[in-house]
Symmetry: C2
Subunit: 201 residues, 2 copies
């Protein structure tokens, strides 16, 4: 049977939103290694799921074992790392999932690029700065990476021999020295509700 | 405030499935250019959404404008193209979305790799062969690509100067010479229900 038309029209965002419980969005958690991005991100993922939202955390370390396993930590590879995760977040966001990207993403231009890529397709993008001082991260050092970086065993380590550029205008800032992951997840959830970001509530 | 534990436990697949309406899965639609993969995929996406399922089509052509924009059509780049889409499908599947990948994916080993990557994480993977004869695809030629390939204006074109290896044991085969996209989408939906793949129904 011949098809009358090769291109089948996809549902528009508005039509899709009628069938999904809520629209998707991207929450981009940026901060130093050991700042608490994944702890906050996974806690928020769980909180959202338990409240009936579709949510998924994209963790930078986990993605480096899969999609980004071919990339190292030099600036070009970091940009490609963020480009790919940005594209995946965009796709998941478009599907209706609240997508929580947890990546160091140290450079302003890379984060700005991801934001712009979302904006041109009218997809929500919320930058969340997990603002933990370097000294606190280094004291935590759960994987011993800061120690190795100080000893020169690993290079291009953010905060030690590679720079971290603070977000200029993040939508949300979390100070993990006064909030644990559960409090931080609740704070973000509350902030999003204040913004009216869950239209089907 | 110090965190007691850096690693926050994520919800297990079983816990996640309690909160989502259904588990995710990957439907991998493979076939020649112009076989009707995207037409079937987008129609199935719409049908699933309208019936209350979370569904999203990953279209090879669209992804080549985003995530895979740096890749060409030689065998190494095709393998990387499929690797990346396989990883994205795995993530979306894990999030609870019925993920419909529409890619030529001409080589058996690349498709087998994606299947294996899903299996090790216990994620559903269904191979759907969009089985349209080359002569029919070439007669359709909606983008004029077959004509260009015959004239040598483009190279590495599947079916002309690059091979397509038929799926060995696809879970579903669609003959688009007897089914239009709506019929094909309904056929796939029915097949999945027969397999009891929508556990929350």
């Amino acid at each position: 049977m011949e098809r009358e038309d090769f291109a089948v029209a996809r549902l528009s965002k508005e039509e899709r939103a009628q069938y999904c419980r809520h629209q998707g969005m991207t929450l981009w958690l940026t901060g130093l290694s050991a700042a608490g991005k994944s702890a906050v991100g996974f806690t928020l993922e769980k909180l959202l799921l338990q409240q009936g939202y579709m949510a998924y955390a994209l963790d930078g370390d986990i993605l480096r074992q899969g999609l980004n396993q071919d990339l190292n930590f030099d600036p070009v590879a970091r940009a490609e790392n963020i480009r790919r995760v940005g594209e995946v977040a965009k796709l998941m966001n478009d599907s209706g999932v609240i997508t929580i990207a947890c990546l160091i993403a140290p450079y302003q231009k890379d984060r700005a690029w991801v934001r712009q890529r979302h904006q041109v397709e009218n997809l929500s993008f919320i930058e969340v700065f997990i603002d933990t001082p370097l000294a606190v991260c280094e004291a935590r050092d759960p994987k011993g990476l800061y120690k190795k970086a100080r000893q020169g065993e690993i290079t291009n380590f953010t905060g030690i021999d590679a720079s971290y550029e603070n977000p200029l205008q993040p939508e949300i800032t979390i100070d993990t020295t006064v909030m644990d992951p559960v409090a931080a997840a609740g704070f973000i959830m509350n902030d999003l509700q204040q913004r009216g970001i869950f239209p089907n509530d």
